[in-house]
């Protein structure tokens, strides 16, 4: 009977995620750039939420669309209301996994690729993007640059638009993660 209870306890504990493997941030940064001959547009979001499970190499990014800050407030309003429809679709997400084995215990920079589901404007696509992962002093810094085609995510640009917007948008991600505290 005693043995059984021990077995019971062991089984019940196995598989619970060790908190030591969860890294997160709520202040990651995501920026985007739209370049055309007429106008350059850029915006930055310094409140990106990221969580990484180093045990499984899985990660989740949550981006609140309304937290993108533009130099021009009117542009920000158009971005939210007309293009991203952030009242209807308040966030963009990435949920995926690193394809490489990563030694999180060693300091250094590693080139990695991540594959997963990228959801923007309520349209989801399976993507694989390149990036780097930097490990230093117990921090994990994820860095990536990739492009997004607006039409892939049903983001319409009106024909008569006076603010010229590129069809392909460059996105930069820079998120230092720290060990998640409960």
């Amino acid at each position: 009977m005693k043995n059984l209870i021990v077995i019971f306890l062991v089984i019940a504990t196995i598989g619970t995620v060790n908190a030591q493997t969860i890294y997160s941030t709520k202040t990651g940064s995501a920026s985007f750039f739209s370049k055309t001959s007429i106008r350059d547009i850029n915006a930055k979001n310094d409140k990106v939420g990221v969580v990484l499970n180093t045990a499984t190499n899985e990660m989740v990014f949550v981006v609140s669309i309304k937290n993108f800050v533009f130099p021009d407030a009117l542009m920000q309003e158009h971005f939210n209301e007309t293009y991203m429809e952030s009242d209807k679709y308040p966030n963009a997400n990435f949920s995926g996994k690193f394809n490489e084995k990563i030694d999180y215990s060693k300091d250094g920079v590693t080139n990695v690729t991540a594959t997963g589901k990228l959801k923007i404007h309520n349209v989801e696509h399976e993507v694989t993007e390149k990036g780097t992962i930097t490990i230093k002093d117990g921090k994990i810094i994820l860095h990536a640059e990739f492009t997004v085609e607006l039409k892939d995510y049903n983001i319409e640009i009106p024909k008569v638009v006076f603010d010229d917007i590129a069809k392909t948008i460059l996105i930069k991600i820079d998120t230092p993660l720290t060990l998640h505290k409960k």
């Binding site: 019971f8 196995i14 995620v17 939420g49 609140s64 009117l74 007309t82």
Partner: protein, 306 residues
């Protein structure tokens, strides 16, 4: 019996062993939720531009942005085919420059064709509605002062004229604009207003006209909306004049279609008011919708980031 008990403990243990990590797996993924990321939470775009149809909206011009506005109001539809239902006439034309000193404070200047009114205006966004409900309303204060610069033809041998004293040319509007964005597509606003005129032509008229305005915007596609506004005059000049004094005053009602293109906002509308500024359309609307006294009108707003 004992075996059965052993088995059930084992089974329960296995079950927990399987379920627990499944729950935990989902758990860590929801450690960052959208709610924990949102910060400012200000409701944006209660209205698409700083005007409804006739009246002001709670919106102010964005910081360091110049709003160039052109409005044209044609003549009464009742003028008929020989005036192309009013399109040959111009009741009023207004050109305005309005500038956002900050996201909350706007100053502006305009000139209207009607009575050659020169207007200086100031608008201050006092409260901004919050998405989390902490602030349910937006409140904006509006004031203008207007110089009626039209030539004075009223002078005669015995009378120095209506505008013999410069102060007679001055009039003022004060408004408290209170709005709420009820949903992504619907916003509503009320506008307690006071128009003060230093000079009135008919001695039985009141210098101060109190009015309560209401208006709303209903979005029906990504870029267009139906906008309506109405002002109920509490003490119109009719109320103080003796019957048969010649002119009947009406409450101004406007209805329009607003189209936003990114940088421009076009509004095409119908209104029974002739004037395009509060100092005219609140106290001086003398046409009635019922007598085909409505006029086609358009308003274009173009924003320049300075």
């Amino acid at each position: 019996m004992r075996n059965k008990y052993k088995l059930s403990v084992l089974f329960l243990g296995l079950l927990l062993g399987i379920i627990k990590p499944m729950i935990a797996q989902e758990d860590w993924k929801s450690l960052v939720s959208l709610d924990s990321l949102n910060t400012s939470g200000n409701t944006s775009a209660t209205f698409k531009t700083t005007r409804l149809i006739n009246g002001q909206s709670v919106e102010t011009v964005k910081k360091h942005t110049l709003d160039f506005r052109v409005a044209h109001r044609f003549g009464n539809e009742s003028l008929g085919i020989h005036s192309l239902y009013g399109l040959d006439a111009a009741s009023d034309i207004r050109l305005a420059l309005e500038y956002g000193i900050s996201d909350r404070l706007t100053i502006g200047f305009s000139r209207s064709r009607l009575a050659e009114n020169l207007e200086g205006l100031i608008k201050y966004r006092l409260l901004i509605q919050k998405e989390n409900g902490a602030m349910p309303l937006s409140v904006t204060l509006f004031a203008n002062s207007v110089i009626t610069s039209v030539m004075d033809y009223t002078a005669t041998a015995d009378y120095a004229g209506d505008y013999a004293i410069f102060a007679h040319r001055m009039s003022y509007t004060y408004q408290v604009l209170i709005a709420r964005k009820f949903s992504r597509i619907f916003s509503f606003q009320i506008m307690p207003s006071l128009v003060h005129r230093n000079f009135i032509t008919n001695p039985s008229d009141k210098n101060d006209i109190y009015s309560l305005g209401a208006g709303g915007r209903l979005k029906f596609s990504k870029r267009s909306a139906i906008v309506v506004d109405y002002f109920y005059n509490i003490n119109p000049s009719n109320s103080t004049r003796s019957a048969g004094s010649g002119i009947t005053y009406y409450n101004p009602l406007g209805i329009g279609w607003e189209i936003e293109t990114g940088g421009h906002v076009f509004t095409i509308m119908f209104s029974n008011a002739a004037g395009l500024i509060e100092n005219e359309f609140i106290p001086n609307t003398t046409d009635s919708w019922r007598k085909r006294g409505f006029k086609f009108s358009f308003d274009i707003s173009r924003n320049f980031k300075l």
